[in-house]
Each structure stands twice: as C-alpha cells, then as structure tokens.
C-alpha cells in the first residue's frame, strides 16, 4: 500500500530509543512483546491509544541514542503505520528501512500538525498531507540506493536478490 492515512500521535524533539523501548525489555526479540512496552516511559497508556494504521509525528532527532533495532520493531508492532519527523537519528533511520517501517522527513508538516489530526502520506510521490488542516508538503526524498532497498522490501530481501540466493 503506497498511501497511508491515519490519526496523528504528536511528539516533541529528541524522542530517544530508551523511551521508544526501554532496555529492560531487550531480553526479548519478540515483536509482540516489545510492542506492549513501546513509549512506556513517555506515557504508560500510549500503546493503548494507538490503533492500527496510526501515524507518529515528531520533531527533530527522532530515534536518537541506541542502535537497538528493537525500537522500530516495537513501533511497527504497536500498529504505527508511518513516522513523520523533522529529522531522524541516523541509525534509527537505517533500522526503520531495514525492518520495513515507513519513515518520512517533512519539517513543514510537522510544524503545523497537532495531536489527533488526520494525515495522509503518499510513499510513492513523497507528499504528506494534513487533511485536518488542508496543507500538503513534499517530504525529503530517499537517496536512490535506499529506494532500491525499500522497493525490494527491506535489506534482507534486497541482499537475497543481490546474492542470488532466491535464484539458486
């Protein structure tokens, strides 16, 4: 599905991986278990308010801190369909692409978006529309190399194709 439409959960700057999934839960790699504790230290009831297909909108440096891939896994597991932020921390950015969590950099939309707004993200054209406010903006495009990983469905299928594993 190239278009995502959902309700916004608004967040501030520097949402770090310790908040996204605290280290005390890193003794498991099970997405369902990780999803239960997503954003727990920010708001213990946050996960209960998320409905499948919802969108996170955050300010600068989303995903800062740890390399733990458990962070995008937990967000995806909690039902979040896409994260829109002004900027992303670089390891989180790579991890999200690798685990198939759509992420979009779009400062213009972040600045006008409020909690509960309806957002539409077109992953093909890269446009982000705040339906509640009636504002559309263009997201920062992915580098071409990254697009090929996204189109392949993540790093694992990309490498399987590149290494000829599937053909063998």
């Amino acid at each position: 599905m190239s278009t995502i439409q959902g309700k916004v959960h608004r967040m501030g700057a520097n949402i770090d991986t310790d908040v996204i999934i605290p280290a005390r839960y890193l003794t498991t790699t099970d997405p369902k278990e990780l999803a239960k504790h997503c954003m727990e230290d920010l708001d213990p009831l946050w996960v209960q308010r998320v409905n499948p297909g919802d969108i996170i909108v955050a300010e600068d440096n989303f995903g800062s801190g740890s390399s733990r891939e458990h962070a995008p896994v937990a967000i995806k597991g909690a039902g979040i369909a896409c994260v829109v932020a002004s900027t992303f921390a670089r390891i989180f950015y790579r991890n999200s692409i690798n685990v198939g969590l759509p992420i979009v950099e779009c400062r213009e939309i972040v600045e006008v978006t409020k909690e509960g707004d309806q957002l539409e993200v077109d992953l093909v054209s890269g446009t982000v529309t705040n339906l509640t406010q009636g504002i559309t903006a263009q997201a920062v495009p992915f580098p071409e190399f990254m697009r090929s990983i996204i189109e392949a469905g993540g790093l694992v299928p990309y490498l399987r194709a590149k290494l000829g594993v599937d053909a063998a």
């Binding site: 280290a23 600068d60 440096n61 800062s64 390399s67 690798n98 290494l163």
Partner: protein, 426 residues
C-alpha cells in the same frame, strides 16, 4: 580530503569520495553484543548465506545482561554462543574473559588506524579514537555485513573540533566532549563525522581520546575520529604485540585543503569539569553550577569511563576515605584485564575499603539493565554517556553525567562536588 574521506575511499576502492556519495565499503571488523547479535543472527539466517564472510573479522562480545541476569537473558546468550560455535568465530569472548565491547576491542589490538569497523551498538563510534572509521548500526545492517563483508554508507560531512590549551588538573576527555555537546546540542552533528584535532590532542591519553569519540553519537554523529599520531601508533602496536596480532596499518590525516562542514574551537585551558543535568547530555554545565545537588547513587563504569585512567583517578580520591553513608557507589572495571590490573595496583582494595560495590565488566547500570537500576525519584551521578528519561531505571529517576573525579568526590560527599573542594567539604 578529510581523514574520514580517505579511509572510506580506500575501503570503497576509489581514488576519492566526497560528502553525500553513497559507497559500498569493505569492512575490517564487524562487532555485535548479546543484545544485538541474536537479532542479527535471525536476519543472517533469513539472508540465507551459510557462513559468515570471514570468521576472523567478526567479534562477538557478551556485555549487556551478563553474567545472565535471568532466563530470558541467558537464552539470548545461548543464541549468541551457539552461533559463535557454529561459525567458528575467532573473536568470541566468553564471560570472565570479556567485558564492555568498546573497551575490549582496542585493548585486544583488534582495531587499528585506517580500518572500517561496523558495530551493532551505537557506541561503536568509540574505535575512531585509534584513527579508524567506525560507526554503529542495527542488527539487520550487521547481518548484511556478516553475509557480504560490505556495507553501504553515505560519506559524511565532517565537523572539525579544534581543542587548544592545557587541560586543568581535573579536566579530561569527558569534560571536553560534554562541552562540545553542550555547544552543538544533541543533534548538532547529525549524520556527520566528528574529527577531534588541535594542540591539546597531542598531550591527551588514549583513555581520554576514547572517551571523546565514544560520545560522538550523543550529538547524533555517525562517527568520531582522532587522526592517528605517535600516541596512537604506540598504543595500537603495543596492544597488537600483547596479543600477537601485529599487522601493518596506514596513518592518515586530513589534507590542508580538506573541506569541513563546520569548525568549532574549544579552549580547554578555560574548561571546568562538566556535568550534564537530567535528561539530555547537551544539558552540560560547569560542575560549579550544580554543586550541592544530592544524589543517591554514584556509578563509575561504562564504555565511556571504565579504563585504567578512570579507575586510578577514582581510587586516588577514594583512598583512605569512605563512601558517604547515604550513597551507593558502584564501580565496574570494563574488562577482565582491567579488573586484574586494578587488582595488582591495589585499586580494587581501595574501592572495597571505601564501601563500593564492585562487579565483573559489563554495561549493566548504564542502560538500566541490572546491577544498579534506579527506583522512582532516585538520583544518580554516572560516568556513562546518556541520561535520557528512564535510561537507568524508573522514568522519574534523574541521572547526571560527569567524569570519574567528580563521581568519586560526589560519592564521598553525598552531593555533586568539584574535586577541588573535597577537602573543604569532608
């Protein structure tokens, strides 16, 4: 070209690279720990390659929840250990012969100038202190390296930091990097390489250099680097020789006409020990501004500050003194080698006499793993690298970051104290 561009160009088999270029880089060493390796193993299986690209270029270091704190962490360790045995990984370090990865690998002589090191831990930027390119990635990226020996990288712009002047008695690498982060903020070096240069560097110990590069990620940087000099070459050669791992390595420096995205000047002579206030590393201020803040716990350890220089400094302050009655002091030498050296030098005795809890080398308290997790409303002064909300335990606990001298002094007085004021307050 900058030193980082030169290393990446070589790893990509190209004459030159420029910031923004996307390259495939050959990897010198790939590292994962007990938190990130199990997930990397799962992704590696899914890629479908039977063997890692080079069993002599993989390091697996149990460091976070070890010795296993519960059945879940024991199961993680089992998955990592089984993979290491199945793949006959040369550098698998078992508990009791291991420690914190970012202190262990340089100590083992496994990282050298010119290398490209990829670690599945954000503080893998630490290795840049020996003049290599080193960065942290997640488990799936690491799995890709295990399968192919390569990784795609975007060549970063470089933020150059020029330090000048002689540091005062209580000022070390930790204070220099906290000052930098307080100036540029928590994402001030996002996607960039952070290059540390200037007159001060030549006089700086490897310990302080490793602390400088360790915290590059706290400003969002992709990597931190101290271009190799005589101090580096002597250190790396001696570590390689100690473990029979001699190999030649290039020594690179940035060209005079290299292009930097930004240059920041830091006057180290004017620097006071720095303390980061809760709950961001960038909230660092001179210690005098937060003196008197009471804390419940002091932690001396982590990949940032658990090396010999750190332990010696802390022991010198604690020698003949007692930990304040209201304080819990936890001291964790990073590796088994450091523990033994501290034992030989009598430092462990000093810590024990002072009333500290001492543990086997691991990351535990730094990330709220175990051995020092904070309860609601508790306050800790830590030599680690992050003080994010909930980092060391309860979401309502507070963490301050400081150098080992400030930490040891605070353990004695019970409140954040400039080491200079120890005599006056005890």
């Amino acid at each position: 070209m900058t030193v980082t561009e030169k290393i990446l160009a070589r790893a990509a088999g190209r004459e030159s690279v420029a910031p923004g270029d996307l390259i495939m880089a050959r990897v010198s060493l790939a590292m994962a720990n007990d938190v990130t390796a199990p997930m990397a193993v799962d992704s590696f299986r899914q890629i479908g390659v039977p063997k890692v690209w080079d069993k002599d270029r993989v390091a697996l270091v149990p460091s976070h929840f070890v010795p296993s704190k519960d059945i879940a962490s024991a199961s993680l360790m089992q998955r990592m250990r089984a993979f290491a045995r199945e793949q006959d990984i040369t550098y698998f370090f078992e508990i009791g012969r291991a420690g914190i990865e970012h202190i262990l690998l340089p100590e083992e002589g496994l990282v050298a100038p010119g290398d490209v090191v990829i670690g599945a831990d954000s503080h893998s930027c630490t290795y840049g202190a020996v003049g290599c390119f080193s960065t942290g990635v997640g488990s799936t990226d690491l799995a890709g390296v295990l399968a192919t020996g390569e990784i795609w990288l975007r060549v970063p712009e470089t933020l150059r930091i020029v330090y000048s002047g002689k540091p005062g008695k209580w000022v070390v690498g930790k204070d220099m990097i906290l000052k930098v982060i307080s100036e540029i903020s928590d994402d001030g070096a996002l996607y960039m390489a952070m290059e540390h240069t200037g007159d001060t560097i030549a006089t700086l110990s490897m310990e302080s250099r490793l602390t400088l590069t360790n915290m590059a990620i706290e400003a969002g940087a992709k990597s931190g680097i101290v271009p190799a000099d005589e101090v580096t070459v002597d250190y790396v050669r001696s570590r390689q020789q100690a473990h029979g791992r001699e190999r030649p390595f290039p020594v690179d420096a940035s060209d005079d006409d290299a292009v930097f995205a930004r240059t920041l000047a830091i006057d180290v002579a004017a620097l006071e020990p720095m303390v980061s206030q809760p709950s961001l590393p960038s909230r660092a201020v001179p210690v005098s501004e937060v003196e008197g803040q009471e804390v419940d716990q002091v932690f001396i350890g982590s990949c940032t500050n658990a090396r010999m220089e750190d332990l010696r400094t802390a022991a010198a302050i604690l020698d003949g003194r007692k930990v304040h009655p209201s304080i819990r002091l936890i001291v964790i030498p990073a590796t088994q080698d450091l523990y033994q050296q501290a034992l030989r030098e009598g430092l462990i005795q000093v810590f024990a006499d002072a009333g500290a809890a001492i543990s086997a080398g691991a990351c535990g308290p730094c990330l709220g793993g175990y051995m020092g997790v904070l309860g609601p409303g508790e306050r800790c002064l830590s030599t680690s690298n992050r003080n994010y909300r909930g980092r060391m335990g309860h979401r309502d606990a507070d963490v301050w970051l400081a150098n080992p001298a400030v930490a040891a002094t605070t353990a004695v007085t019970g409140r954040i104290t400039h080491p200079e004021n120890l005599g006056a307050l005890v």
